[in-house]
């Protein structure tokens, strides 16, 4: 066993490792989107935020030598894009779905523009913690090389769950999402609440992007994100706007996304592209199963335009 020749066990191990590694961007984007959508607004632009986050993290890490500064920069970039989204959406008669689409195109374009000089150089990457030290099997060790961001994301899910339930801020966000009139009657500005919720969502999505460029796959190129952002937005819908369900769904998605490379590593190459599309097919299937034309989804914030 110690020589690493573990045959077909490679596949479930790689899927497990993938569930941990690949799920992190899904996790951060979906938790961020969860905050935004709970406040009654949908931000479809997180795909653009994710790519911008990846680019700025890589750039700052390359320039400063510190990957953690890169993560911070990615979060701030995301928060800025979130503020832009919220700012435009607070104008009268502006549709938040359309603004999200525009920011998706804008974010991706801007990241490609600014990231052009970053394709060549190598930036300092985020460190990993070796949780597989007890094992002799290299595949197990590889699967258990876990990034700190993943652990932060896992910790964030229950914290958000708790915060939505019990804190003043969680209550305010939920009020703005369930009934803007009620929030107004309580003397709060719905637009200000949604601005902060969208910025927080963008911040987390940006950090999710930094994981892509600074840990896995761990470089910057224009094909870095292909739809992880939008998949994560869909994931929030069938996770019923519940941060804990977002966590489980992200893990499932990470596993699905790791299936293609895992099968390739044992020599199954024929359906490579189809297996790569597994997360999108999975999203679609789960949405088909969980949605219903007759009722709005349980747990859906009443002010959310996309479920009305």
């Amino acid at each position: 066993m110690a020589d690493g020749n573990i045959g077909l066990w490679t596949v479930p191990l790689a899927v497990l490792g993938g569930a941990i590694r690949v799920s992190t961007p899904f996790l951060f984007v979906s938790l961020g989107e969860c905050i935004t959508e709970r406040s009654g607004r949908i931000n479809l632009g997180l795909e653009g935020t994710l790519v911008m986050g990846a680019m700025s993290a890589y750039g700052i890490s390359y320039l400063s030598g510190s990957p953690w500064l890169g993560v911070l920069a990615a979060g701030l970039t995301g928060a800025l894009l979130g503020a832009l989204h919220a700012g435009i959406c607070s104008l009268p008669r502006v549709n938040d779905v359309a603004v999200g689409i525009s920011l998706m195109l804008f974010g991706t374009g801007l990241a490609f523009f600014l990231g052009k000089p970053l394709i060549e150089p190598t930036a300092a990457r985020l460190p990993a913690i070796d949780f597989g030290w007890w094992s002799d099997v290299p595949q197990v060790r590889a699967a258990l090389r876990i990034n700190v961001l993943f652990l932060l994301g896992v910790a964030l899910a229950p914290i958000l769950f708790w915060a939505f339930k019990t804190t003043r801020w969680g209550l305010l966000i939920r009020t703005a999402g369930e009934s803007a009139d009620a929030a107004r009657a309580m003397g709060h500005s719905v637009l200000a609440i949604r601005l902060r919720a969208t910025m927080a969502g963008g911040f987390l999505a940006g950090i999710g992007g930094s994981f892509l460029s600074l840990f896995y796959p761990g470089s910057w190129n224009e094909g870095l994100s292909s739809g992880q952002g939008i998949t994560a937005v869909a994931l929030v819908i069938f996770a019923r706007w519940d941060p804990m369900l977002c966590l489980w769904a992200s893990l499932a998605f990470g596993g699905a996304a790791a299936l293609g490379p895992a099968l390739q590593s044992v020599g199954v190459t024929s359906g490579y592209h189809l297996f790569n599309a597994a997360p999108y097919i999975l999203t679609l299937l789960i949405m088909i199963i969980t949605c219903s034309p007759k009722r709005t989804l349980s747990g859906a914030p009443a002010e959310l335009s996309i479920t009305r």
Partner: protein, 369 residues
């Protein structure tokens, strides 16, 4: 380019301002031209500032954009060739928009349309070119139509949000295309860039006589005008607009909303599928990953900029086609990355959406009644 486009509009809006009756009659129409026009100018100014930050002269930028898009007969032909798929993919967003649906999966329908059209052409090798071409049109439109019908059906029968499902279907379409192009449909001779076999020079649809612009432009113009007539001058279009305005009212007066959704989604996808067929039969000659250059995504912008009006889509698609066409010149002469076109498109999109807030709020257009 910007000032030329906007000045006549300004003049038309300001000159007869004394006549309140004129403004009451035409105020809304003027708004529909003036506000997106102004949004476009603002976007170009912002983009000018953006490139100035990188040490480029914005005036050079505007000049090269104008020159690369509309400056010569050559650039006009380039622009029009790029406008053709944009008209078709914009219809893919604009038609469902009449029903209040936001479909952003035109890119996926384009890819599936291209794949279906190529399959039809390869299956019918040896038949007369006209037969092959007609089969390609039918296959492309059916393939694309069924692809968006999937989003419409999911919305109608399962309540799945059509915006998200259509976008997910883009990635699935791309995976299917790559799978087939690198698998069963691969031409063994295509080593570096996996592609299908060529459809054959005789089966290409060719160019409009006297130009280098392919017939796809004519397809686009015909479908845009046909969509306009369908929406504004038929009972079907009226029903669709009623359902888009108020779905409950539409159900009360007995419209079958489900049928409307499915038909419109099929037609929308068929337009984008035809764009894929055109790209194969007029430009690429085969199917490969080169087809996914984002015509579907730019089409969304075209539709929103044209306020989902099929006739307005034509000039807007030419304008955006021009911006796309000038990208090469910006790269060569100004040393800007190829993504600068994407940045500009994003800025235009944001600025146009933000300008939605202005409708009905411009004082002098309201008239003095």
């Amino acid at each position: 380019m910007t000032t030329e486009a906007a000045d006549p509009v300004d003049a038309a809006a300001i000159a007869p301002a004394a006549d309140a009756g004129f403004l009451q009659r035409w105020g809304t129409e003027i708004e529909y031209i003036l506000i997106p026009g102004a949004a476009l100018v603002v976007a170009l100014l912002v983009f000018g500032i953006f490139v100035a930050l990188f040490g480029k002269n914005p005036l050079d930028l505007y000049w090269y954009m104008y020159y690369g898009a509309f400056g010569t007969w050559f650039s006009w032909q380039n622009t029009l060739s790029r406008a053709a798929p944009l008209i078709l993919t914009a219809l893919c967003t604009a038609l469902p928009a009449q029903l209040g649906m936001v479909i952003i999966g035109g890119e996926g329908a384009l890819l599936i349309g291209a794949l279906s059209a190529t399959s039809a052409a390869l299956a019918l090798q040896g038949m007369p070119p006209l037969v092959v071409q007609v089969a390609m049109v039918i296959a492309g439109m059916t393939g694309g139509g069924l692809w968006i019908l999937l989003s419409g059906g999911l919305r109608q029968y399962r309540g799945v949000n059509e915006t998200i499902s259509s976008l997910l279907l883009v990635y699935i379409a791309l995976a299917i295309l790559n799978h087939l192009v690198e698998g069963v449909m691969r031409d063994p001779a295509s080593l570096n860039k996996p592609s299908t076999r060529e459809i054959g020079a005789a089966n290409m649809i060719g160019t409009i006589p006297g130009t280098d612009v392919h017939w796809g432009l004519v397809f686009g113009l015909i479908l845009a005008v046909a969509s306009y007539i369908l929406i504004y001058h038929t009972t079907f279009g009226f029903a669709a607009r009623v359902a888009g305005g108020n779905i409950r009212a539409a159900k009360i007066v007995g419209l079958s909303v489900g049928k409307l959704i499915l038909t419109v989604c099929f037609l929308a996808g068929a337009c984008a599928g035809l764009a894929g067929m055109v790209e194969v039969a007029a430009v690429q000659g085969r199917t490969n990953a080169n087809l996914a250059v984002g015509y579907g995504f730019t089409g969304i912008l075209v539709a929103f900029l044209a306020r989902q009006n099929p006739l307005a889509i034509i000039p807007v698609a030419i304008l955006l086609g021009g911006i796309n066409a000038s990208g090469g010149l910006l790269q060569r002469r100004l040393g800007l990355p190829d993504a600068s076109v994407l940045v500009l498109q994003g800025i235009i999109f944001i600025s146009v959406l933000a300008s939605d807030a202005l409708y009905g709020r411009i004082g002098f257009l309201k008239g003095k009644s």
